[in-house]
Amino acid sequence: MKRILADVTAFGRQYLRSRVGTFFALAFPVILILLFGSIFSQSATPQVPLYVQDKDGTPTSQAFVLALNKTTLIAYRAMPPDVDFVGYIHDHSINVALQIPLGFQDDVNRSRTDRNTTTANVTLAGDQSQSSYGIAASAVGAVATEFNFRLANAGPVIGIKTIPVSVRQLKYIDLFLPGIIGFTVLTTPMFGMTSICAEYRTRRFFKLLATTKLSKAEWLAAKVGFYVLLLFLSVAIMMLVGVVVFGMQATLTPLAVLLIIAGTFEFTSLGMVLGIFVRDPGTGEALANAIGFPMMFLAGSFFPIDAMPSFLQTIARGLPLTYINEGLRASMVFGNEGTALTYLLVTLGFAVVFFVVGTRGLSWKSK
């Protein structure tokens, strides 16, 4: 135990004196939270700018525009009534625009008495491949339907009743932060250990250590110990930023703490497993990137796994990071401790396998 503590202290001193390591462990996750949190936390659904050319300028056309604004799906932008509609769209690189034609109010009034021959039409123009077009089309369609009901003196037959399923009122950051914690649990120890193994091999530190009483298992345990401390510091900073800047409500539960410890154990050990194959810092970096980057995207650190195609979801179920991300969300956000416990056990299983393979496979000696 004394040797492990000595190695934690010595390694920690070196690590924290390296600005690059400290930046990626402590500052980089915070930058990601600030960046993604700012982009996605402004509202539940982003508003689409809709350019409206009201050539009619009557109370009816203005009521239509007002109703559109009330949907909160679109942000109203006025287009001058006297310009060429299509030309203006091209000249101003507009994604989606609506034209209310001259005589709109008259057509509406005529259609009330002569429903079979007269309709009042608006024109929606834009790039139909863009999601913003779809959102605008939905908003315009909903307003038109509402107008039709009123003109026909009718109302909707089928309504929608909503029931919130989460205990708390969730924000984007509540779902995002566990993913970023998972991302940090993956990158900091795994990339770090792969790089350390490469450096220790090329600079013959492994041979030097082999002349001491420190065993490989003790050395790896010391690294796990240090990374656990480092990641708790990192998680504390992330939580603080989440709460203070974005009003996050997700909480660090005891199971989440255990998942972070188990995940650190797992990915520190995986880094040592990769170290078996690493001969120099260049190959170490390439190998860590090749394994780490696909995993962080496929395992749901940034995007929910349920949104992926089914074959990618199958792959994700085989990745160790998936169980940390999903376990953290289950415990921190949904309070689903049963699922979190299952994923904790899966993570520990991966960790033990990686630990055994890493300590047995990595040789400090020469052949």
């Binding site: 004394k2 040797r3 503590l5 000595a6 190695d7 202290t9 010595a10 001193r13 070196q14 004196r17 390296s18 600079r203 013959r204 530190f205 041979k207 030097l208 250590l209 082999a210 002349t211 001491t212 009483k213 420190l214 000696k365 020469s366 052949k367």
Partner: protein
């Protein structure tokens, strides 16, 4: 845990074999790095494995340190077989590996304390300071290793090797790559350790280093020991006595000597006359003085390990280093 003077132990155990190597072989698919060597290292002596790069010195030392497994033969360190007793051996030896590099962002004071902990040695701040003082790094004890000079880094390596009060020190090419000043300083340090009774196994490809520091030298080439003995014994056995140098005598001087039946060698513009027996030096000098030869200087030169090498290994010197 102040570094103790181990002279007492040396006095008790003089002649005791600290290392015993018998028919040691290390074979790789494409080369036999160590080819059936035998030697002993006595307690309290500096034993040098001397040879050009690729001779098998480091492979031999790493087998003795427990870092490589031998293919055949036997090696015992401090009475323990290196294969079965590796864990017990490493508590009693200190190692400075070849091309030693310290941990960049640790200070010497921290590195020595850390290393002591890895051997379960309880060391106080005073003990660490004492070890650092021993290797002459007291004024650099709080400098990051990153900022130490090459010689200071090797000193730090020796300090780390000394933390367990080892009975035996392995110094694998400790001065390779250092400037002449730093080399001389390390020689002084190794000389001090030797005077304190440490047993040291030193590998080097510097002839002057072995001659200066070693009590016993084994010359290795192509995995074999081609000669073994004290530097003076090797020189007298293989070095060929004394050489009289007629500096600047040139071809004319050479031909004048040959014409009088004197065996000489023309090397550049100098003429060398080899005298195998010390008793023949004075008569030969008198004989040469009687011959009219234009020269700038005349002096005698005792044979060195370089001459032994030229004879035994056929190696040549490049800036004081043996070339394979």
């Amino acid at each position: 845990m102040a570094p103790r003077d181990v002279r007492a132990a040396r006095d008790v155990g003089v002649g005791e074999h600290v290392i015993e190597v018998r028919s040691l072989v290390k074979r790789y698919p494409d080369i036999t790095a160590v080819d059936g060597i035998d030697f002993d290292v006595n307690r309290g002596e500096v034993f040098s494995l001397l040879g050009p790069n690729g001779a098998g010195k480091t492979t031999t030392v790493e087998i003795l340190e427990g870092l490589r497994d031998p293919t055949a033969g036997q090696a015992r360190v401090l009475g323990e077989d290196v294969r079965s007793g590796y864990r017990r051996i490493r508590e009693r030896v200190g190692v400075l590996p070849q091309d030693f590099e310290p941990f960049d962002r640790l200070r010497p004071r921290e590195a020595v304390g850390y290393w002591a902990s890895l051997f379960d040695h309880a060391v106080s701040e005073e003990d660490v300071a004492s070890i650092i003082e021993t290797v002459g790094l007291a004024d650099r004890a709080n400098t990051f290793a990153l900022n130490l000079s090459g010689g200071e880094k090797r000193r730090l390596g020796i300090a780390m090797a000394l933390v367990g009060q080892p009975e035996l020190l392995f110094l694998d090419e400790p001065t390779t790559g250092l400037d002449p000043g730093a080399r001389r300083e390390l020689w002084t340090l190794i000389g001090d350790l030797k005077r304190k009774g440490r047993t040291i196994l030193l590998t080097t490809h510097y002839l002057d280093e072995a001659e200066q520091l070693a009590d016993d030298v084994a010359i290795m080439n192509h995995g074999k020991i081609v000669a073994h003995g004290s530097p003076s014994a090797l020189i007298s056995q293989f070095g060929g006595g004394t050489t009289i140098v007629l500096a600047g005598a040139g071809r004319g001087g050479y031909e004048a000597l040959v014409a009088r039946g004197i065996v000489a060698e023309l090397r550049g513009i100098d003429v060398l006359v080899h005298v195998p027996m010390a008793s023949q030096v004075r008569p030969m000098l008198a004989k040469l003085a009687s011959i009219e030869i234009p020269l700038t200087e005349i002096f005698t030169k005792r044979s060195t390990l370089e001459d032994v090498f030229l004879k035994l290994v056929g190696a040549r010197m490049e800036e004081g280093v043996l070339a394979a």
